[in-house]
Symmetry: C2
Subunit: 302 residues, 2 copies
Amino acid sequence: MSILVVGSIALDTIETPFGKREDILGGSCTYFSYAASFFRPVSIVGVVGNDFPPEHVELLKARGIDTQGLQVLDGETFRWSGAYHYDMNEAKTLSTCLNVFETFQPVLPEAYRDAEDVFLANIDPDLQLGVLAQVRAPRLVACDTMNLWLNTKRDAVATLFSKVHVVIVNEAEARLFSGTPSLIASAKQILESGATYVVIKKGEHGALLFGRDFFFACPGFPLETVLDPTGAGDTFAGGFMGYLAKSGDLSQMHLRRAVVYGCVMASFNVEDFGLDRLKGLTEDDIANRYLEYVTLTRFESV
Amino acid sequence: MSILVVGSIALDTIETPFGKREDILGGSCTYFSYAASFFRPVSIVGVVGNDFPPEHVELLKARGIDTQGLQVLDGETFRWSGAYHYDMNEAKTLSTCLNVFETFQPVLPEAYRDAEDVFLANIDPDLQLGVLAQVRAPRLVACDTMNLWLNTKRDAVATLFSKVHVVIVNEAEARLFSGTPSLIASAKQILESGATYVVIKKGEHGALLFGRDFFFACPGFPLETVLDPTGAGDTFAGGFMGYLAKSGDLSQMHLRRAVVYGCVMASFNVEDFGLDRLKGLTEDDIANRYLEYVTLTRFESV
């Protein structure tokens, strides 16, 4: 079975200290699906307007991504514009135009309803819940969210957290949900809301994985040059879910490795604008960087 | 041989979201020596005023710390006052009174001049260089510095970096020295100035170790409660140097483990104000937390 993902498909305008790109392919669904496609086939659910360049759909199809669930509506595609400053840690959103997203109602093609692995990428939590309700018997469901929904639809987010196996959020989102600066206390609160595991993404500083009786910490893959952090969180999730789907094993060891694969995929993504780095990526590149990561983090039997 | 350290001995007034302490024992030399003393004997070089409470000296002596090199001058002890806010990542300095430090000229007792392991904790780089010149044939020399000296005495800091084996700085100091946000590029610049290794401390996010042909990354030990980050960098250095002195081995594997011991010692230190957590610490506590750290970072053979 392929990995099912619902999320945003966007045309992004991005400015960083290293350059500017206008109306490039972006969105949480796009980054996730492209990254996960290196591990397992992916099926997407999303919406675009009739202005959406057909070559973007071809790009996804060329990676074997199933686009049956991609709706094309009259109107303009969702657009996001953001800028990053010197330290590149946080995007400043300049504008968000929901466009066709405003009326989006995700409907799963019949073939998608037997998905075993589901990623509910960042969109309105009610839409995430609506998609989840259409999946018959998933083995593994993970979700992301964002500050907007934590501020405006906290109850829906809490319901979402109670229905998934893995909550994948960044540091700021974890702290916003819990109201405490401690990431451990934040993770405990998310676990109490019902999720089985929590992954907290820390950007260049790596990630933490919390279960009910263990936790795992790993550093980010150190990079000399970061050109564009957009999509790092979604490529992380793509590597994480992709590895778990491929391994077919949800044991603690594989969950830990999945976090490392998340860091590896995110480290590639930020090396160039938009999907440019992932477009040239091979499975060998991923395997090699994973091995580099093993080497650079080892201290007990170098 | 014992580990020789020169640095500040201070009376600190500290305010964090969890409380306030006035005129407690602090300073880079103090935190370093206390932490390193769990691994090897330590000899200190520093200065205090005649207002310095004798019980503080007794506290150091009780850990086997050699205080022959502690000068007591007429006048007041160095005082620092700082506050930490919600995220506890950075101290806001409220006041610094150099007092007896203004005229301090470190002189090594004869017995200290054969030291094999030397840590030049953060003080004026000219004083650090002055101490180093008095040591006959050290096996391992490491140094720290701070933004003040990078801004006011950059040439002296660069000279210092050229004469030590290991430069241990935090992220902000590495970036300030290099003028680039990239920590890898910053480390390369410090290596180019002559140091053999660079350790970049990232607070709760762990640390990076760079050599000429390798690097090592490790996360911080995740803590639910951090009461007071003061001294974390110096206890890190104490664990790092202490482990290397104890092991007597400067191979890459031991350097990596030394960084982990640095993270372990810093993680204890921040759990309470001042030296309070270290005061109750045992070698078993350290060994157990190291093992916990191994477990929480392992992903290839859990």
